[in-house]
Point group: C2
Chain length 242, copies 2
């Protein structure tokens, strides 16, 4: 249910591109045409366009028009850097069957070393969760999630089995807004080999991240260790003028 006026315009343009009404290289109708078509102001059209620009669909050109530069990807990448998606959401998008196995679920108190790593304050009560994610039968991600209990009360292993984000958003009414992540590659540990189907690989792609809710509270620290050939991160960057 769209309560905003720019959202239908955003989706209309996006689906016109994905359904190849406008191909890569084509120019869209002008902003004024869209404004007339959707009976809105030019600003509202520009807002929809700027979202699609940030996503790499469009390239506005001063004086010329707005060009489509979107090309569908041949190989799909499971994750999009720059977006915040749960594993379930990403798996659905790539149309593969996803399951989760809980390895650890316990409550801990934040000590000095955990605080240094995660950024939580010493003494805070935390959920410590380890999960292994499967695509089909292959174990592809070994996830360690640490949640601030005061912000995520009532989390259980059953919920972690399903979708933690759905619980936080739908049941607790939390809004997830911002996430800071770091991507690197590391040597696989014994535990990685034990839990993941690494095959002949002896390294993993790791992502560590901090997630904030709409109150500005960092409520989650996550470390994900990925099987390299099953996971890839994609993103679109826009060069800043400032």
């Amino acid at each position: 249910m769209p309560q905003s006026k720019y959202e239908p315009i955003y989706h209309a343009i996006k689906s016109d591109i994905e359904n190849k009404k406008y191909k890569s290289g084509d120019f869209l109708p002008s902003e004024n045409e869209y404004a007339a078509r959707f009976d809105c102001s030019r600003n509202t059209v520009r807002r929809a366009i700027s979202l699609l620009t940030a996503e790499g669909y469009l390239l506005p050109q001063h004086g010329r028009g707005v060009q489509v530069i979107y090309r569908p990807e041949k190989e799909r990448s499971l994750f999009t850097i720059g977006g915040i998606e749960s594993f379930a959401e990403a798996a659905t998008r790539s149309s593969r069957k996803a399951t989760t196995k809980i390895v650890t679920f316990e409550e801990i108190k934040c000590d000095q070393s955990i605080s240094l790593m995660t950024g939580f304050d010493v003494g805070e009560d935390l959920y410590y969760i380890e999960r292994v994610r499967y695509l089909g039968k292959q174990a592809v991600i070994y996830d360690t999630n640490i949640f601030l209990i005061s912000e995520t009360k009532g989390l259980t292993a059953e919920i972690a089995q399903d979708s933690i984000y759905r619980y936080l958003e739908d049941t607790l009414g939390m809004t997830i807004t911002t996430s800071r992540r770091r991507v690197t590659a590391e040597r696989a540990t014994e535990r990685d080999h034990e839990l993941l189907d690494l095959g002949h690989f002896d390294f993993v792609l790791t992502v560590v991240g901090q997630v904030f809710n709409s109150r500005g509270v960092m409520f989650e620290y996550t470390r994900s260790r990925h099987v390299p050939d099953q996971v890839c991160f994609a993103e679109t960057a826009v060069r800043q003028k400032v």
Copy 2:
């Protein structure tokens, strides 16, 4: 020289945060206060704020105010995902001495297999460049760049030794706007071991990307192979409502 009015506001807020005038968790003065202080409209302030939000400095909260969530990083990451930076720019930002060695510089014609990999059309004339990037004495990145000659005429090994982007932007007057990248980890090849100081690592962090100029032409295809412990990608993601 700022020709735009939102740019000074953007920098003022950013430096106030980086100089710890406002710390993580603090709320900024309201948009109306900034509008009065900079003698501009609220929209102009909001534009500066939205840029800093996308960069992970700020978290606007409906009805409450704009909160600072920026924390300086302990370990610096060389690259920021989501930005388009040259190696020289990134090295300067992390205050390490960067040098470049040209391994290959030749002109080639795009054949079927190159076209499939890069997205250039068969028959196009291309520059094929291989470079090794050093931080201090250590070889940390093995770069393969393929440029469309028609868009980057006059490129030489000497320029590639220095900064290709500076040549494109300053001399050719090109504007680099959008880039699409994919990050993954791969087993190191013999050539990787030969060119990079991999130490005990036998895998690399790879980034492949396509870069567009302001005319919507894809003029560059790049593949970078990074020594894992020297390179890390950082980014800030904002969860979308739409």
